[in-house]
């Protein structure tokens, strides 16, 4: 198997064992990026020199006898995560030339575990979007059909891993931004419990929802990445002081003794016959693995979208107030300080970011605060309660990750149709739950000429990542949906085994 196609676990094992060096892995991946990224567009910045220097350090550590869980593993870092000395843009013109002066804790931990950041990955501006089309700085395509989007907002990280331009992608998920691109790109996309992974050095979108997690080609890799990045951090007061179980050693191969809830309100019949059949088969496969399927109800989940589109914009309008042209980033001069702010933000933010700031500002403004923001926070309580009640009768919940496979560019012209892409992922985000998407089959989208991947979403109670990844592993090992098709990169040579 070509180096670039190997799993993170495979690469780390070989680098630790001395059969290949981190430098050789890095060179192979950089060469592959140089060959294919012109077509895919995963990266906003490729870190050639930085990566080679990091690989040399890993090789020294391995030579000195260290065993590193991610030794030599090529890493795509979403461009809203700081990495000292690299351009960090959040996909926005307002930060187009900003160099991060420090490194995000989660990224630092991945590097400490031996991972090699090879590039900063494209994303929807400030992580607001579900297709990567809201990036102000580049276009990322789906490696399985270049006429389709990779999903978002962590679309660059997802495309990079799917196109073998990295073994692990770091993403951030606020309402589905890891799980949806994971589903669209035939990957495992894993959002840990809110607070499990430090947000220090992650450019904030909606602070009560943002969570960093991995995008990988296998569940085992997601588990290894999670172990490396999770854990309390004194630099993030919302990070949780709690033991992180060694999940990668506890990955199950069956689901015996587990009850899995199927959500009554998430009827997949409306999603079309082919998609419906994929999810019906997925639920049957869970059963065949030994799980008992039970019906659960999430009566408030349907209000998730409305709740989210008040809370997330409200938090973003506050978080993005810092981009004012004073201390860093773009500045457009004005006659006085207010004009400078207004012109800077007008030129620096794209339409989706402006929309969300405006909605958030409105929802928080005098006279509307209780009617909108507080009401949404109360709805959030009801949604979290729904899950608590459901988990009284099951261990995990299975649901669709998305309502359709990856769509074509410019297919979602009005903002609300794009927001609907996160219908199935938002409730879990509002409840802070760990959730992931795992490949569950292929459908041919209307007007499409090749099959595109779909994702099964699994979620479990707070802090039960071990259970969640274990169940996903059993499902992945039995079904092996991901291996049915390889990415199609046109005339571009793909290094295949």
């Amino acid at each position: 198997m070509e180096i670039t196609e190997r799993s993170a676990a495979h690469i780390a094992r070989d680098v630790n064992g001395g059969t290949i060096s981190a430098r050789e892995v890095t060179d192979a991946v950089l060469a592959h990026i140089d060959a294919v990224d012109g077509d895919v567009g995963s990266y906003l910045t490729v870190l050639h020199e930085h990566a080679r220097a990091a690989a040399a350090r890993v090789d020294e550590r391995v030579k000195a006898g260290e065993k590193l869980p991610l030794a030599g593993v090529p890493l795509a870092v979403k461009d809203n995560m700081c990495l000292t000395g690299t351009r960090t843009t959040a996909g926005s013109k307002i930060l187009e030339r900003w160099q991060a002066p420090y490194t995000a804790t989660a990224v630092e931990r991945m590097i400490e575990a031996g991972a090699i950041p090879v590039g900063k990955a494209n994303m929807d501006e400030f992580a607001m979007g579900s297709s990567c089309e809201n990036s102000a700085l580049g276009v990322t395509k789906n490696p399985y059909d270049l006429s389709r989007v990779p999903g978002g907002s962590s679309g660059g990280s997802a495309a990079a891993v799917a196109a073998f331009e990295a073994a692990i992608g770091m993403g951030s998920d606020t309402g589905g931004s890891i799980r949806e691109p994971g589903a669209f790109c035939n990957l495992v996309g894993f959002k840990p419990t809110y607070g499990r992974v430090s947000r220090y050095g992650l450019i904030a979108f909606a602070s009560s929802l943002d969570q960093i997690g991995p995008l990988t080609r296998t569940v085992e890799d997601a588990a290894i990445a999670y172990e490396a990045m999770a854990g309390w951090d004194r630099m993030d007061s919302t990070s949780i002081k709690r033991y992180v179980e060694p999940v990668s050693r506890e990955l199950r191969t069956d689901l015996r003794g587990l009850k899995i809830g199927i959500v009554k309100e998430f009827d997949t019949k409306a999603l079309g016959a082919e998609t419906h059949a994929v999810y019906e088969q997925a639920y049957r496969d869970l059963q065949a693995l030994g799980a008992e399927l039970v019906d659960v109800t999430l009566p408030t989940a349907d209000y998730g979208l409305a709740t989210y589109y008040l809370i997330a914009p409200a938090e973003c309008s506050s978080n993005l107030a810092r981009f004012d042209g004073v201390r860093y980033g773009l500045r457009v001069e004005g006659a006085d300080v207010n004009e400078m702010y207004e012109k800077t933000r007008a030129a620096g933010f794209g339409p989706e970011v402006k929309r969300r700031i405006l909605i958030g500002t409105y929802a928080l403004s005098s006279g509307y605060y209780d009617a909108y923001y507080v009401r949404a926070q109360k709805a959030r309580t009801l949604i979290a309660d729904d899950f608590r009640k459901a988990f009284a009768s099951c261990d995990l919940i299975a649901a669709p990750a998305t309502s359709s496979p990856a769509f074509q560019f410019n297919a979602k012209s009005d903002p609300y149709s794009m927001y609907l892409m996160d219908y199935y992922t938002i409730p879990m985000s509002l409840a802070g739950l760990p959730a992931l998407s795992v490949p569950c089959g292929w459908v041919t989208p209307p007007g499409g000429d090749c099959e595109m991947p779909m994702g099964l979403q699994l979620t479990s109670p707070l802090f039960t990542e071990s259970l969640l990844l274990g169940a996903a592993h059993a499902y992945e090992q039995k079904t092996k949906h991901a291996s049915k098709h390889k990415p199609l990169l046109g005339e571009v040579p793909v290094h295949r085994g």
């Binding site: 009560s208 949780i240 209000y303 979208l305 008040l310 860093y328 001069e333 500002t361 909108y372 109360k378």
Partner: protein
């Protein structure tokens, strides 16, 4: 669950995009004002579905997992040095960020 309390309804008035943009410190063109008015109006219609939920007996959730105040000893610890930070400034003057005049001249 039946309740005697009346459920307050959400606003049905049109959003004043120009005013909100002023609060948010974003200059908008006339085209943007028109477009955002329609788009935000559509979104608010969807969001108004929340009026159907009875939340009169429900506490607000700001954050889902356990949280408490986090304090540390009041001891200085290393931070980014001044030059590193000022190197990113759009405009600086010595050790300061330079901005347009804020207080009017006499």
């Amino acid at each position: 669950m039946p309740t005697n309390r009346s459920i307050p309804t959400l606003s049905s008035e049109k959003i004043d995009v120009r005013y909100v943009a002023k609060l948010a410190r974003i200059a908008l063109t006339d085209d943007e004002v028109e477009r955002f008015e329609t788009q935000l109006g559509d979104l608010l219609e969807h969001v108004n579905a929340l009026a159907k939920l009875d939340v009169s007996q429900v506490a607000a959730t700001a954050q889902v997992v356990e949280s408490r105040n986090v304090e540390r000893d009041d001891e200085p610890t290393p931070c980014l040095d001044r030059e590193t930070v000022l190197a990113q400034a759009p405009q600086r003057q010595g050790a300061f960020f330079r901005v347009p005049r804020i207080i009017a001249a006499d």
